[in-house]
Amino acid sequence: MQENITLLQYFKRYFKRCITGPWSLMCGLSVSLKYFFDPRRIVTEQYPENRKTLKMHDRYRGRLEMIEDADGNNLCTACGMCERACPNASINVLATKNIAGKKVLGRYVYHFASCTQCGLCVEACPFGAIRMNQDFEVATTDPNSLEMILNKKEGQG
């Protein structure tokens, strides 16, 4: 940007800058020196080393999980509410008929590969059969392992 200023103004500004400029730079340097010499300011958490103490918040949405009792029974009735709530069809609630001919949960397939962990399924479940767990160490080299079957047993009924 070209401005029209007199030579006097130009030199006035020039010398003003010669003084304010270094001062402003020193201000910046003082901040970085302060941070450099103060180890208390370091905020880094050391992830693989602090694995034991690292806890996610209660509401943290990790992987989907089925709530099971000690015998492995789940609460799912295969109503399919979660399936319908899912924005990208990451849940297959595959129903079967039990010996009495009643519709029960056969297989609860969870496509972790496409799950966005939005939690709408948990919100939609009327029976509280599923939840998001606190698991965040989920990296894998095998994409097929991301397709999970969550229930160990068929549904009750």
Binding site: C27, G28, V31, V43, H57, A85, L120
Partner: protein
């Protein structure tokens, strides 16, 4: 001696000029460190001076609006997180307010306070990223880390409240998904106390720095008229001297109950756009402090849960996100759970359109500065 003009300029370039030097074209992006995502800019250069700039969008166009047509409203709230991902929580509110207008449900007071507090936290988070990117794009990598350092604390709070750091998916018509935990208010308070000291350091680090002043004052000037004509909003508009903030002009939620200023600067250059965001962080802190004082300890935090169904009609909502005016336009052709069409107006889109106006005659280094002060989020443009 003048060279012949380009027999045919590439699409988008319009300026016809006679030159004595050879012009050349530079392609910036779609993968370039300073385009803030997948944006491609083609520059017509005369030496190191930019003659003209043409932005190319769409490298992260994800067809959200098409997808929204087959999604339910609730699912779209989750999808809207992915637009302005720096403050996903504000996108949520934009969509939810439009839905509330359609469903005609209100929000109890505690719910409104939760909303306002999370909004302002999101705004601070976004502006801190701006601080970092501004310093980082000017060449001071340390600023980038400073900005993100305080942002992590906001993310911690958000994660505790909403369950996710970035894609919060938190607000629902009539309130929010959960109540805030008891630790929320003390944590916000502690964070504000910390941020006050940190901001003092950060401003000393950058605000008066002679190199920053030299590089940003008088660079990328956007006049008041241009800013309005190009549809700029938010800090970019206010830095050009227009006092327009949706929180004040058309107050939503309970913003009319708080005492805060709308900072306005008048030069419209990069430095003003930087200062205005710093000032806005302070204003947001002011609002948060008022929230902490007035926060209702008890009472319902959401209204009665209803299925999200909208009657036939068109519903429009606008909110002020950290970047500017974020408008959602919902068209319901049949009463039901699914929209006929949802359109989003992201604030960054017009800013990039105005970029050409701002960079002409500047150096390539200035382009980086101007891009940083526009603070665009590309997925919000492309959707």
């Amino acid at each position: 001696m003048s060279q012949p003009l380009f027999s045919k300029l590439p699409p988008g370039f319009r300026i016809q000029r006679e030159t004595n030097t050879e012009e050349f074209f530079i392609n910036m992006g779609p993968q370039h460190p300073s385009t803030h995502g997948a944006l491609r800019l083609t520059l017509r250069m005369d030496g190191e001076t930019i003659v003209e700039l043409v932005p190319h969008f769409g490298y992260i166009h994800r067809g959200m609006e098409k997808q929204a047509e087959s999604m339910s409203y609730l699912q779209y709230i989750a999808l809207s997180d992915r637009q302005d991902y720096l403050t996903a929580i504000q996108n949520n509110l934009g969509v939810v307010i439009a839905l509330e207008k359609g469903m005609n449900v209100g929000v109890p007071e505690r719910g409104e306070y939760i909303r306002v507090m999370l909004q302002e936290l999101g705004r601070i988070a976004s502006h801190l990223v701006f601080y970092g990117c501004f310093g980082g794009d000017l060449g001071g990598q340390t600023c980038l880390l400073f900005g993100f350092k305080e942002r992590e604390m906001i993310h911690d709070i958000l994660e505790e409240v909403t369950g996710s750091r970035l894609t919060t998916n938190f607000f629902r018509p009539g309130g929010s998904r959960y109540d805030v935990p008891d630790t929320f208010i003390p944590r916000v308070k502690a964070f504000l106390d910390h941020l006050e000291g940190a901001m003092r350091d950060y401003e000393r680090f950058l605000s008066k720095n002679i190199i920053v002043l030299e590089r940003s004052i008088g660079i990328g000037v956007l006049t008041k008229e241009d800013a309005i004509a190009y549809g700029c909003s938010g800090p970019v508009l206010r830095a050009s001297g227009v006092e327009f903030d949706v929180r004040r002009a058309n107050p939503y939620s309970i913003y009319d109950q708080f005492d805060f200023d709308i900072p306005v600067f008048h030069n419209g250059d990069c430095y003003d756009r930087y200062k205005i965001r710093i000032a806005e962080i302070h204003e947001s802190m002011k609002i948060l402090r008022q929230c902490i004082d007035k926060f209702p300890k008890e009472g319902p935090w959401r209204s009665k849960e209803k299925p999200v169904r909208l009657p036939v009609g068109r519903y429009y909502s606008e909110i002020e996100t950290a970047k500017g005016l974020y408008a959602t336009y919902v068209v319901a052709a049949t009463t039901g759970e699914k929209p006929y069409r949802i359109h989003t107006r992201g604030p960054s889109f017009p800013h990039i359109a105005a970029l050409n106006k701002m960079v002409q005659g500047h150096k390539i280094s200035d382009l980086v500065t101007i891009m940083a002060t526009l603070d665009p989020v590309i997925p919000e443009i492309d959707r």
